[in-house]
């Protein structure tokens, strides 16, 4: 019969989380005799730090079919060790972090873009149908929600729109004054500001403000409702979340963005006038006459049409990101960021496309 070889390991001193225990793995790896005796007689204070060592030791002795004898181990440590091995990891539960190669990642990215595009088209379709139901008086939504959203997206945005529009008008005027004065044509600053603000900047700046302010708010609100299963609750009651939650927001923004844009145009012209009056030798009357002669109704309506398009795009971007948000706090943050970014990108792209169309139609 083979004689049993015993290795005695003594635990000495404190084994606490505060202290790093060096060489514990080497000690465990060096144990190869058929019996390992762990003597805890000289053990001081201990906590989970000791248990991690015991777990590693137990795994080592089990793996190598060694016998582990625990001598004078505190009762609490015994119990924790037993508890640590009480429930085994379910088969297939553990995840190995496998590195994905370039082709895999590219393919995955492409498939994700296709799925995303499909989801955008599907969402736009659902909103279009919902707007159709709204005009037929069959949409299931709360009127009070619509009025509250109109107030939030319209009247409550006045201060920020006022400030930005006034400053954008003033900035345009500053740039114009410096250049045009060189040719003695300072008065044409009024034309530059009026056409620039009314055709382009009024709508685009209002759009950017609304994408950051309202689009983000829509995404955060709907995203949080998704996390709290409020959207699921509506669905199970047979209420279409698009009608009930998205429609009032889209309608409110389609109505309010053009109105805010008209207001921004006015403030932008005032900003330009303020700078021109301060720097140029012109009267307010001269400036206003020049402004009125430089802007046509076509300019006004082309700017207004852009504002309506931006309103639709921001509302759809914000609501889609919110309604398709995941079910965690991080997902809500991601949805909000995505709503702002996609809203602004959509505005800029739409502006470029509309300008090409206007040029082709000679507008």
């Amino acid at each position: 019969m083979r004689e049993q070889q015993i290795t005695r390991v003594q635990l000495i001193g404190d084994w606490l989380i505060e202290h790093s225990i060096s060489n514990s793995q080497q000690t465990i790896d060096s144990l190869t005799t058929s019996v390992v005796e762990l003597d805890a007689t000289a053990l001081g204070k201990w906590d989970s730090r000791l248990i991690t060592f015991l777990v590693k030791l137990r795994k080592h002795t089990d793996r190598h079919n060694l016998t582990l004898n625990l001598v004078n181990l505190p009762e609490g440590a015994h119990r924790l060790l037993t508890l640590a091995f009480a429930v085994e990891a379910p088969e297939g539960a553990s995840r190995s972090s496998k590195k994905e190669n370039f082709f895999y990642r590219t393919g995955k990215g492409f498939l994700s873009t296709v799925a995303n595009s499909k989801s955008v088209i599907s969402f736009v379709g659902k909103v279009t149908l919902s707007i159709g139901r709204f005009f037929r008086g069959k949409a299931n939504y709360q009127r009070s929600d619509l009025w509250v959203t109109i107030q939030e997206t319209g009247a409550e945005a006045f201060p920020i729109v006022s400030l930005i529009a006034f400053l954008v008008g003033a900035i345009l005027a500053f740039v114009g004054v410096v250049q045009l004065n060189k040719f003695g044509a300072g008065i044409y600053v009024a034309d530059l500001v009026a056409v620039g603000v009314i055709r382009e900047m009024g709508a685009i700046m209002t759009g950017v403000i609304m994408a950051g302010r309202t689009g983000a708010a829509f995404a955060a609100q709907l995203g949080t409702m998704k996390v709290n299963e409020e959207v699921d609750a509506l669905t199970t009651m047979g209420i279409d979340p698009i009608d009930f939650l998205v429609l009032p927001k889209v309608i409110a923004l389609i109505l309010m963005l053009p109105l805010l844009s008209i207001y921004a145009n006015l403030l932008g012209v005032m900003g330009g006038a303020a700078v021109s009056l301060a720097i140029l030798d012109v009267s307010i009357y001269q400036y206003m006459v020049q402004t009125i002669y430089s802007v046509t109704l076509v300019d006004f309506f082309s700017g207004l049409f852009k504002a309506i398009v931006y309103g639709i795009l921001i509302a759809i971007a914000g609501c889609r990101c919110g309604i398709e948000c995941g079910k965690s706090a991080a997902a809500v943050g991601l949805a909000t960021t995505s709503a702002v970014v996609s809203g602004i990108v959509a505005i800029v792209v739409a502006n470029a496309i509309l300008n090409v169309i206007y040029t082709l139609l000679d507008i």
Binding site: S20, I21, S328
Partner: protein
Amino acid sequence: MSDTHISVDNLTMAYGDYIIQRNLNFTINRSDIFVIIGGSGCGKSTLLKIMIGLKSPATGSINYQGDSFWDATDFQRDHLRRKFGVLFQSGALWSSMTLKENVALALKQYTDLSKNEISELCSLKLALVGLAGFEDYYPNEISGGMKKRAGLARAIAMDPEYLFFDEPSAGLDPLSSRLLDDLILELRDSLGATVIIVTHELASIFTIANNSVFLDPETKTMLANDDPKYLRDHCDNFKVRNFLQRGEAKQ
């Protein structure tokens, strides 16, 4: 011999001018499993919040091993908080982190352990609560009961002296609830922690608790403070006995 670990002295809790409970006085011994009992709206969760430092009391004090928590400096209070482990009702796991990262955060903040050592400790804590193998899962990928257990693993990450539980059995099936009770008992026995629990679960209370306080929303004060099994069978106050006997006590 009793070993007072926590004492609550003349504590009054209020939201603004609205008083929730007044003149609470009780002590909790080392390794007690202490439950805060009472009807809805009596201030159980508020008391727990005051004990863990999330809300300040209107008057009175809470002393941990003789040191007043609310009279201490911010530095002392933060130091004391490291001895706390809290399991919130929803688990309150950080959704952007994996279970392992949730458990590891306190260890990274407050110890000088290496990455490997922290990883081993996290795996141990998750194994202790029966979640071995789920280290790399995110909270939204696991069930409600598993979230509770993961929250418990995070609460015991630093081997706390004081363990607080807010409605640990809420939303769990009876079997999971029983398993959680066993786990609480096991951790108390092995870690030697003092456990404070807010719960409505009578079965759970009688299984694990050895000390309790009963808060009354009508008189706005505590009506009893003793072992809940004793209070159920022998308390002089009918309201307390009736509550603990599910409304079936005899006058």
